[in-house]
């Protein structure tokens, strides 16, 4: 019997562990039923949701890159009403906090979405202001403090739930964005979303992806993500969900040390569908080895 506890609290939400899933990589949880153990998950962050259903991008949607992948899914989703009516009731049975990742074309849409999702079965909302794949909306909000602030305020005004802002790494100074988010009243930040990248097929001389560019994720981006978490940790005092290339407990621990209060697992779910379970197990082992009993003893403990 291990006396190590991974239980924690994030923005007022009680979590079984600080291990969450990254939006868009874990569906609605159900898809991973055979591999995940929902009692070890801190939260399921579901696929990016919009007011209306969306078809996403045409053509090829993923490409593998060295130690990473590009995606241009383009926010395909069944729309918020379907989520509320059909999916949330279904996944409630996991007894795992559900965080809904939302995306809007306008500031008002974020507000509207926040209002619709201010219901039981939703523990928090995560604002995706950085998805690089959708021409209207998305991108603009995430790289410019003013519009990001407007989005946060619109969301806050319309919900009693914690509002998590997901920061884009495609900015000159992530700390500036984080501070703006803190001042705007966000309850937490998550970072990073994907870096914008591209791949070319030299046989056809065409871009590999249907949308030309896509979002880079996976181990390749980990050094950048880790650096940004560390920068943001120094800049603000809001809780942080760290993500970007976390494949195993070692990676997760690096994020905790850098200052993440929770981590989210993304691309790793595609590589090992039981990644979250393994990370939970190995994280416990690490704490035991280090004679720590509480995951919170690790957070921000980087010695510089």
């Amino acid at each position: 019997m291990s006396s190590v506890s991974l239980k924690t609290e994030f923005a007022g939400i009680k979590l079984n562990s600080p291990i969450m899933t990254a939006s868009g990589t874990f569906g609605f949880g159900e898809e991973f039923e055979d591999f995940a153990d929902f009692s070890t998950l801190g939260a399921i962050v579901v696929k990016g949701t919009t007011l209306e259903p969306r078809n996403g991008n045409r053509g090829i949607r993923i490409a593998e890159t060295p130690a990473g992948m590009l995606n241009c899914i383009g926010l395909e989703n069944p729309g918020v009403q379907f989520l509320v009516n059909e999916i949330l009731p279904r996944i409630g049975k996991y007894n795992c906090p559900i965080i809904v990742n939302i995306s809007g074309n306008t500031v008002e849409e974020y507000g509207e979405l926040a209002k619709i999702l201010d219901i039981d079965g939703v523990k928090a909302i995560e604002l995706n202001v950085s998805c690089p794949n959708v021409k209207e909306g998305g991108i603009a909000f995430g790289v410019e403090p003013k519009s990001m602030v407007a989005v946060i305020k619109a969301a806050k005004k319309n919900t009693g739930k914690p509002v998590i802002i997901k920061l884009s790494p495609n900015v000159t100074d992530i700390a500036v964005m984080a501070k703006a988010a803190e001042n705007a009243g966000a309850d937490a930040v998550s970072l990073i979303n994907t870096l914008i990248g591209m791949a070319i097929d030299i046989n056809t001389c065409k871009p590999v992806l249907g949308n030309i560019t896509g979002g880079l994720s996976g181990p390749a981006v980990k050094p950048v993500a880790l650096r940004m978490v560390w920068q943001v940790r120094k800049a603000i005092s809001l809780p942080i969900i760290g993500m970007g290339g976390i494949m195993n407990a070692q990676d997760a621990i690096e994020f905790f040390l850098a200052g993440a209060d929770a981590v989210a697992i993304g691309t790793a779910n595609f590589v090992e569908p039981d990644s979250t379970v393994k990370i939970y197990r190995d994280l416990k082992k690490y704490l035991e080895q280090k004679n720590l009993t509480d995951i919170r003893d690790l957070i921000g403990k980087l010695r510089t």
Partner: protein, 255 residues
Amino acid sequence: MTLHKHFLADGVIKRHEKIGTNDVYLLDINISANTEKFAAGQFVQLQVPDGEILLRRPLSIADAAGSNLILIYRVIGKGTKRLAKTSVGQKVSIMGPLGNGFDLACKKPLLVGGGLGIAPLLLLAKRFAGKADILMGCKNAEEMDWPLPLFKNIVKNTFITTDDGSMGMRGFVSEYLPEILTAESYDKIFVCGPEIMMRSSAEVAVRHGIICEVSLEKRMACGLGACLSCTIETKCGRKKVCKDGPVFESREVFF
């Protein structure tokens, strides 16, 4: 159509050999799990060993017996090139069986395969216990070197086309198909191969009033219906090739 709970296992490579002149390999993997109920048309997500390749690769279940899985693949790019270097005894992580598989309900099936699309028809032919015919199309006689022996005793009649006429009929399967469908009263055809070949074959089938199932290919990340890499537009809305497919009734996807 049987759906099973997925497994994730470190299989052990029992056999790995080049079976075709043109970089086609057969991989026999012991997964220490009963594979008897895996449906023909289902696939696995195989992890290319040795760490360089991030994403898993989808490969059809070409055969399944006892706790062994047979996969047949062609070297296409980085992943399959590296896979070809793995040796007997090595471990390889396998996740599956994924997708729906073919619907066997029919009396007189015709299997139609092109190139590597022939692979999943092997298990399908077995499931039909000898009562199926097969029409195989390849570029040339050389490309027929691997499928011919494999199908020898598990189908009734074998029809062959090659693009260059070096074996069997000259031309595409879809050109030969009307003749075959007229000569014999098939009630269902199962097509797997390049999309253009599936489209044209499906068209012929529909013209002959015969139900046609096709097996689609799309780039996949999760293989579980979660990432939406593989979504397609169908007559009945958007579907995921990995989960709702890879097998679809042709009229649902070609319209």
